[in-house]
């Protein structure tokens, strides 16, 4: 029982509860269905990408290009659907593009052996530049397909659609990380790459897989974002990568690879988003929303360093 309370997830859970109680005392509006829905809706895109990032960080890698890719996706999906009038073609274009970017990230990491922080930082730069080459102006929704709007803005049984999409993807990743051999492989690769390679695991193959999965999830999140904004905008997800990474690290996934849980990640995101929400509810200047993930990022990695030192 004591062990349970000491686990990382339960600490995060209590932290979340305390934050919620505090905020609801401060402003009862916190508990309005509307507010909770908005927290959940904005959390869900982060969560979807964070599932991939959890895998990547667990295997000792990171992808900083997710924000730039997501902005690009909003532009592509809107543009292709506008031109073709077909949702299917729009989605297909997005996923082919994301697949390609994920592959490039993975190959640069494994074949050229470029540190993934640098490789994906460069990819972020490339994407941020090329999205403007693709289109200088934001792309507005001229196809007016109702289902497209429904993806980001709709409700099913009063639950926002993005949340439902997230819940649809979630079990797959819990399953992948906890019940299949792939989850073990990712952990082994991140924790001790020599050892995993000496156990007959092809590290590079799984690292590339991690990058591809993450990029594809960015595709999903990007489509949702495009639907929410009803536009494709070049800088729409700027800084998104930091929120995702800060949340995943806060959720207990180690920056040095080897340990990560999907539940921890979800709790990390909820905490960040509730803080964001609190900043608005408490009428603190919104610019703090930039500072918070920066501070949390440093703190989370620091605690992780401490934890690792203790375990040695």
């Amino acid at each position: 029982m004591l062990k349970y309370f000491k686990s990382n997830e339960s600490i995060l859970f209590f932290l979340l509860i305390i934050l919620c109680i505090f905020l609801s005392f401060y402003n009862p509006q916190f508990y309005s269905i509307q507010n909770i829905n908005s927290i959940l809706r904005s959390s869900s895109t982060v969560m979807i990408v964070a599932f991939g990032m959890t895998i990547l960080l667990t295997s000792g890698e990171v992808d900083l290009s997710v924000g730039a890719l997501m902005s690009f996706v909003t532009v592509i999906v809107m543009d292709v659907i506008n031109i073709s009038g077909s949702l299917f073609l729009g989605f297909l274009a997005v996923f082919i593009f994301c697949l390609m970017i994920g592959l490039i990230n993975g190959l640069v990491r494994t074949m050229l052996n470029v540190n993934s922080l640098i490789a994906t930082l460069a990819m972020m730069l490339i994407l941020q530049g090329s999205v403007y080459i693709y289109s200088m102006a934001a792309i507005y929704n001229t196809h007016l397909l109702p289902f497209f709007t429904f993806i980001g803005q709709g409700f099913v049984f009063k639950i926002p659609m993005p949340v439902i999409i997230m819940l649809f993807i979630l079990p797959f990743f819990i399953f992948l990380l906890n019940y299949t051999k792939y989850g073990r492989y990712f952990t082994a690769i991140g924790s001790n790459p020599s050892s995993s390679s000496l156990s007959g695991i092809n590290n590079n193959k799984f690292k590339i897989l991690g990058f591809v999965i993450t990029s594809l999830l960015v595709g999903v999140a990007g489509i949702i974002l495009a639907s929410l904004m009803d536009t494709g905008q070049q800088g729409s997800a700027k800084g998104f990568e930091l929120i995702v990474i800060a949340a995943v690290l806060l959720g207990g996934t180690s920056f040095k690879g080897g340990s990560g849980t999907v539940i921890g990640t979800i709790l990390g995101i909820l905490i960040l988003k509730v803080i964001d929400n609190g900043i608005i509810l408490m009428r603190i200047p919104q610019e703090f929303q930039l500072v918070v993930p920066g501070v949390i990022l440093i703190l989370a990695v620091y605690f992780d360093t401490l934890r690792k030192e203790k375990n040695v």
Partner: protein, 496 residues
């Protein structure tokens, strides 16, 4: 350092690492103008002792006396201040720096403006190198020099200023005979300057040329200190490897017929040079070699972890020229590393997960790992090898070295295995677990498993191996069959 250097004594030094007692009550006295040889097998504790002297490690107990007065060495700076200079076996130079810069790394000569006085630096450097009889371009980048030239720079660097004790760790391992002669001249010159030298080597003949005293360590313990005139090659080898083989394992004397693996002309970029051998079914093939002989490199090359330059491996009719670890694992080969912490255990996993890592396919049904089945098998092996743990769900880092090693062995044994490569399987393992592991190896071979046993423990090697291959400098230097192998012969073959 105003006082003239007379002697440096290490008294009853003790150093413990988690799970291993690296040095137990070791003493040594280095006197001015004398060469004190330090000998012992790999893992005897020589390196640890040096690192304590150089301030890289701190001792757990014991005293260090400088001219009879106790001193404290807690950092490399302390050690340098007393003039203790270490020439490490692995090159410790900055490759991008020139010869001169490396030699003057500790203290660059400055001009009046506080900038580096390059002219003085290179002039002094040239003088220094010529003074000890070596001719090198002092402005050349170290990265462009050969290993033996780098070794010379290391030595020059250690002695260029106010050295009182120079520690040399296997300084001749990569030198040509001519260079060795020059080194010995340098040592003579140092002796005349009342500098003390602690000289570590495996090459016994060298000791008789230059040393006045010999201290032998074994398993972290002080074994003997002898005057060079009171000893002989035979005595030293006995001191190093222990007097007799403690334990004999019963090995069937049958000749092995079925070839399990055939390694042909294997070479790698870094070390291995044209290695060929055959491994039979049920055979234990021992590999011996001193530090740097290339055993671990061979193990990793065979297992597909390191890229091979050329050569091929034949396993039961299949010939492989390009392969990775996956190929080898699928062919029923397993590898237990010598570097348990760095390449063996996975810290973030428990015993069960560590054990099943290469064999998850065994427990898979519709993509799902059957944890119940996995746990059952893990527990079976925990029981079989008497691993001391409350459960299979314990983190592997919480176990002792010996128990971790049993888990790593189980990692391979729970799958269908034809060949196992064991690199120093008993290193850092306590005596009890050691005996169990050796017995286990013997039993496995009896059941038809082929074993490649790489060990520095002469006793284990002689008692278990059916054949012994001795390596030196990346090559096979000699092969012994069980009946003709002796400690002395093996040692001689290794120290070429």
């Amino acid at each position: 350092m105003s006082n003239k250097f007379e002697s440096l004594s290490l008294q009853n030094i003790r150093k413990e690492f988690p799970g291993v007692l690296a040095l137990d009550n070791v003493s040594l006295k280095a006197e001015a103008g004398k060469v004190h040889a330090l000998m012992g097998e790999n893992g005897a504790g020589k390196s640890t002792l040096i690192k304590i002297l150089s301030g890289a490690y701190t001792k757990d107990a014991g005293n260090i006396l400088f001219n009879g007065k106790e001193i404290n060495i807690t950092s490399p700076n302390d050690s340098l201040n007393y003039g203790i200079k270490v020439v490490y076996q692995e090159i410790s130079l900055i490759p991008e720096f020139t010869v001169g810069e490396n030699i003057f790394l500790e203290k660059f000569p400055l001009n009046r403006l506080g900038a580096i006085d390059w002219k003085k630096l290179y002039d002094d450097c040239e003088k220094l190198l010529q003074g000890i009889g070596f001719n090198l371009d002092v402005r050349e980048k170290v990265a462009n020099l050969s290993i033996s030239e780098q070794q010379i720079i290391e030595i020059a660097r250690a002695i260029f200023q106010n050295a009182s004790v120079v520690v040399m760790d296997e300084p001749t391992s990569s030198l040509t005979p001519k260079e060795i002669d020059k080194l010995f001249q340098v040592i003579e010159r140092l002796k005349n300057n009342d500098i003390s030298i602690i000289y570590i080597t495996h090459k016994i003949d060298e000791i008789f040329k230059i040393a006045s005293d010999v201290t032998v360590l074994r398993d972290g313990k002080f074994i003997s200190h002898r005057n060079i005139n009171d000893t002989s090659e035979e005595i030293l080898i006995q001191d190093m490897v222990g007097r007799k083989v403690d334990q004999k394992f019963e090995r069937p004397l049958n000749t092995f017929s079925e070839v399990q693996m055939n390694v042909k002309n294997l070479s790698t970029l870094s070390k291995l040079d044209n290695i060929s051998f055959k491994l039979h079914r049920g055979e234990i093939l021992g590999f011996f070699g001193l530090m740097g002989a290339g055993r671990t490199e061979l193990a990793k090359a065979i297992f597909g972890y390191d890229k091979i330059l050329n050569g091929k491996i034949e396993i039961q009719g299949n010939v492989y020229e390009k392969f990775n670890t996956q190929t080898m694992v699928n062919n029923g080969i397993g590898y237990v590393t010598e570097d348990r912490k760095g390449e063996g255990i996975i810290n973030d996993m428990n015993l069960r997960e560590n054990m099943s890592l290469p064999s998850l396919g065994l427990f898979e049904k519709f993509l799902i790992i059957n944890k119940v089945k996995e746990k059952k098998l893990a527990n079976q092996y925990i029981e079989k090898f008497e691993v001391k743990t409350p459960s299979s769900e314990r983190l592997i880092t919480l176990l002792s070295g010996g128990n971790q090693q049993k888990i790593l062995l189980s990692r391979w044994l729970l799958r269908e295995l034809k060949i196992i490569i064991l690199d120093e399987p008993t290193r850092g393992v306590d005596i009890g677990a050691k005996t169990e592991i050796l017995k286990l190896i013997n039993d496995l071979a009896k059941d038809g498993l082929s074993v490649i046993l790489m060990t520095s423990e002469m006793n284990d090697l002689l008692s278990l191996s059916d054949r012994i291959i001795v390596m030196a400098g990346g090559k096979i230097s000699k092969e012994f069959s069980k009946d003709i192998a002796t400690q002395e012969e093996i040692f001689k073959a290794a120290a070429i």
